[in-house]
C-alpha cells in the first residue's frame, strides 16, 4: 500500500452524535394492501451492534430496503447517520455498507470484476486505490484465491462472502447486513461473527438481521425483535436476559412435597415435568442455596437442583409467536 496514510476512520462517535439509524412511524403498505412494516420507530445507537430479529416475513428486509432508499415508505421518515433518506442518499449511502436480501452479482463476471463494477459506480472513491481496496476486501472475506472465478461457479457461502466484500470496499461508518450468515457453514458463520466484532471494535455501527437468534446473539449488544411488521421489543441483551427469568429445577422422587415447598417460597408458576421426576418453579429472587435449605428442612429428597435459565431463544419464540428456524 502506498503513501496515503490517513487517520483511521471512522472514529468513535461523540456521545451526543445522532443515532446511526432512526426511523419514525415507518410504514410500508404495498399495492394490494399488504402492510409489510407498520409504524416502526427503530433506533440504532452509534457504535452498537444491533441484532434485527424476527421470523421470515416479519418486515426486516422491507425495513432495510427503506433504510437504503430502495423502497419508498408509505409514511414515516428514515434518518441514517443523521441525514434523511432518500433525500440525502447521495451523501450518506457511501458511508453505509449494505448486504440486502442475499448477494447479487453478474453471474458471468468474476468475483473481482463484479467488485470492480461496484467500485466504478462509486463517485466518491479514488479510482487509483481501486485495485488495492478490492484485494483487501477479498482477502478479508477469504476469497483472495477465488477472485478470478466466475460468480456463477461460486458456492452459496462464497457468494455471501463476495457480498460482504462488496460492503467493505471502503471503510464505512454503518453496516447494514441482511442475513449475512445465510448459507454459510458453521466455520463461515464464525468468521462472519469475527468480522462483525472487528467492525464494531473499529467504531462502526452494525445492524445485522437474522431469523436465527443463535447466529448473532454472541455479537450483538442490542436487539430489535420484529413480528408481523411491528416491533415487539427492543433493548440491550442484558435487559432481555432479565426478562427471560430463570427458573429453579429440582430433581426429586417426591414432586408433590417439592411443589408445596416451592409455592411456599413464593413461586407463582410451579409444575412437575412429564417424567414426574423434575419440578420447575419460577423463583427469580430466591437464591438456589435458600431453596435447597428449605427443601431439605422439609424432608424433601433432593437428587439435584439448579437454575435453568429460560434461554433467550425461548423468549423470542414467545415474543414472535413462531419458532426460529433452527435448521438454517
Amino acid at each position: 500500500m502506498t503513501s496515503q496514510v490517513l487517520a483511521p476512520q471512522p472514529t468513535r462517535p461523540a456521545p451526543d452524535s445522532p443515532a446511526a439509524v432512526r426511523t419514525t412511524g415507518l410504514t410500508k403498505r404495498f399495492r394490494g394492501g399488504q402492510v409489510a412494516v407498520d409504524d416502526l420507530d427503530l433506533v440504532v445507537p452509534r457504535g452498537s451492534v444491533t441484532g434485527f430479529l424476527g421470523p421470515n416475513g416479519s418486515g426486516k428486509t422491507t425495513t432495510i430496503r427503506m433504510l437504503l432508499g430502495l423502497v419508498v415508505p408509505t409514511s414515516g421518515t428514515v434518518e441514517l447517520l443523521g441525514e434523511p433518506v432518500p433525500r440525502s442518499s447521495a451523501s450518506v449511502l457511501p458511508r453505509v455498507g449494505a448486504l440486502v436480501e442475499g448477494p447479487a452479482f453478474h453471474p458471468y463476471l468474476s468475483g473481482r470484476a463484479n467488485l470492480m463494477r461496484l467500485d466504478a459506480a462509486d463517485r466518491t472513491v479514488d479510482r487509483h486505490t481501486s485495485g488495492a481496496r478490492i484485494d483487501a476486501a477479498l482477502d478479508r472475506v477469504g476469497l483472495g484465491s477465488a477472485a478470478g472465478k466466475r460468480f456463477r461457479t461460486y458456492s452459496l457461502g462464497m457468494k455471501q462472502r463476495l457480498g460482504l466484500a462488496g460492503a467493505m470496499l471502503r471503510p464505512r461508518e454503518l453496516y447494514v447486513l441482511d442475513e449475512p450468515t445465510n448459507g454459510l457453514d458453521p466455520q463461515g458463520t464464525r468468521e462472519v461473527r469475527t468480522l462483525v466484532r472487528e467492525l464494531a471494535a473499529d467504531g462502526c455501527t452494525v445492524l445485522v438481521s437474522s431469523h436465527l437468534l443463535a447466529e448473532i446473539e454472541q455479537v450483538c449488544d442490542r436487539v430489535v425483535v420484529m413480528r408481523a411488521g411491528r416491533m415487539v421489543t427492543a433493548g440491550t441483551l442484558d435487559d432481555l436476559a432479565l426478562v427471560a427469568r430463570p427458573s429453579v429445577v429440582v430433581e426429586t422422587s417426591a414432586p408433590a412435597a417439592a411443589l408445596a415447598v416451592l409455592r411456599r417460597l413464593g413461586a407463582t408458576t410451579a409444575s412437575v415435568d412429564d417424567d414426574g421426576l423434575r419440578v420447575r418453579a419460577d423463583l427469580p429472587d430466591v437464591p438456589v442455596e435458600d431453596v435447597t435449605r428449605a427443601l431439605v428442612l422439609a424432608d424433601v429428597p433432593v437428587r439435584g437442583i439448579g437454575r435453568s435459565g429460560r434461554s433467550l431463544e425461548e423468549l423470542f419464540v414467545e415474543l414472535t409467536g413462531e419458532g426460529f428456524d433452527v435448521a438454517g
Binding site: 432508499g69 458471468y108 481496496r133
Partner: protein, 287 residues
C-alpha cells in the same frame, strides 16, 4: 491485510471525474457473450449477401431485393449500403431490442440493481449511463455491418470510383466516407427504439418480456407504416425514416428527409426517456 491497513485505504483527494460507470457499463455490454454473438451475426450479413451475389449468375433487376443490390457486382463498395439496408428493417431492431430490453430488467432480475442503487448511483444516472451504452452499442453494430460490407465488397468485386444514385461519380474514398455516414445515420435512427426499449425495461423484472415487447413494437411500427390508410400516422412512427439513408448516396445530399428522421428520433427519445425516468425514479426496487 490487517484491519488498520484496510481502513487507511480511505478515499482521498477529489472525487473521480472519469466516466468510470459508463466504461464499466460498456465493458458489461460488450463483454457479454450473447451481445458478441449478436454482433457476429450482424457481421455475417454482408458476407452472406456478398458471397451470394458473387456465386450467382442470375440477373437482378433494379428494385428487386434490398436497395443497391443490383449495383454490388459492378462496384463492391455498394455491398456496405446493401447490407445496411438488409439489416435495418428486422435484424438490427431485434439486436437493439435484446440489448435495450435487458438494460434495466436484466439487472433487476439478477438483483444487481439494488446493489448499484445502494452504492449509491442515482436512478437518473443509471438510466443515462444505460442509454449512453445502448447508443454506443447501436453505433458499433451499424459500423460493423458497414465495415465488413466494405471489406467483403472490395475483396469480392471490382471497386473504385462510385457512381451515385444521382449519376455523379465520386472517388472511392468519398464512397467509404458516405458508407460510414450511413452507418451513423442508421445508429441514430435506432435512438428512438433504444429509448423505447429502455423504458419498457423499467417496467418489468423479466428481461425476456422487455426484449420481446421492444421487438414487437419495432415490427408493429413498420406494419403500421406499410398501411396506406394510416398515412396520417406515418410521420410519427419511429421506423418511418429508417431507410432514408439512401439520400446520403446522392449528390448533393437532399437533407430534408434525413433531418425529419433525426427530429423524429429526438421526439421518441424525449418521450421514452421521460416515461422511463418517471417510472424508474419512483418505483420500489423489491427485486
Amino acid at each position: 491485510m490487517s484491519l488498520a491497513e484496510q481502513v487507511r485505504l480511505e478515499p482521498l483527494r477529489r472525487p473521480s471525474r472519469a466516466p468510470r460507470l459508463l466504461l464499466s457499463e460498456l465493458w458489461l455490454v460488450f463483454g457479454r457473450r450473447r451481445n458478441q454473438v449478436l454482433l457476429v451475426v450482424l457481421a455475417l450479413v454482408p458476407v452472406l449477401v456478398g458471397v451470394a451475389i458473387s456465386v450467382s449468375t442470375a440477373e437482378v433487376e433494379p428494385g428487386q431485393g434490398p436497395p443497391f443490390i443490383d449495383r454490388v457486382s459492378g462496384n463492391g463498395l455498394f455491398l456496405a449500403f446493401t447490407a445496411l439496408a438488409a439489416v435495418v428493417p428486422f435484424l438490427l431492431p431485434l439486436v437493439m431490442g435484446v440489448v435495450a430490453g435487458d438494460a434495466v430488467a436484466g439487472e433487476a432480475q439478477a438483483g444487481t440493481l439494488r446493489y448499484l442503487l445502494t452504492v449509491p448511483v442515482s436512478r437518473t444516472r443509471v438510466l443515462l449511463v444505460k442509454y449512453a451504452a445502448l447508443m454506443v452499442f447501436g453505433l458499433v453494430a451499424a459500423l460493423t455491418v458497414a465495415l465488413v460490407g466494405l471489406a467483403v465488397g472490395v475483396a469480392l468485386f471490382p471497386s473504385g470510383e462510385v457512381t451515385l444514385l444521382s449519376g455523379t461519380t465520386v472517388p472511392a474514398a468519398s464512397a467509404v466516407v458516405r458508407a460510414l455516414l450511413v452507418a451513423a445515420y442508421v445508429a441514430v435512427s435506432l435512438a428512438g427504439l433504444s429509448a423505447v426499449g429502455l423504458a419498457v425495461s423499467t417496467f418489468t423484472e423479466v428481461p425476456v418480456a422487455a426484449m420481446a415487447t421492444t421487438v414487437v413494437l419495432a415490427i408493429t411500427s413498420q406494419i403500421l407504416d406499410a398501411i396506406p390508410q394510416l398515412g396520417w400516422l406515418h410521420p410519427f412512427l419511429f421506423s418511418h425514416h429508417w431507410l432514408a439513408f439512401g439520400d446520403l448516396v446522392r449528390d448533393p445530399v437532399p437533407t430534408g428527409t434525413l433531418a425529419s428522421g433525426l427530429l423524429l428520433q429526438a421526439g421518441w427519445v424525449a418521450i421514452s426517456m421521460a416515461v422511463a425516468w418517471s417510472r424508474f425514479t419512483t418505483k420500489d426496487v423489491t427485486s
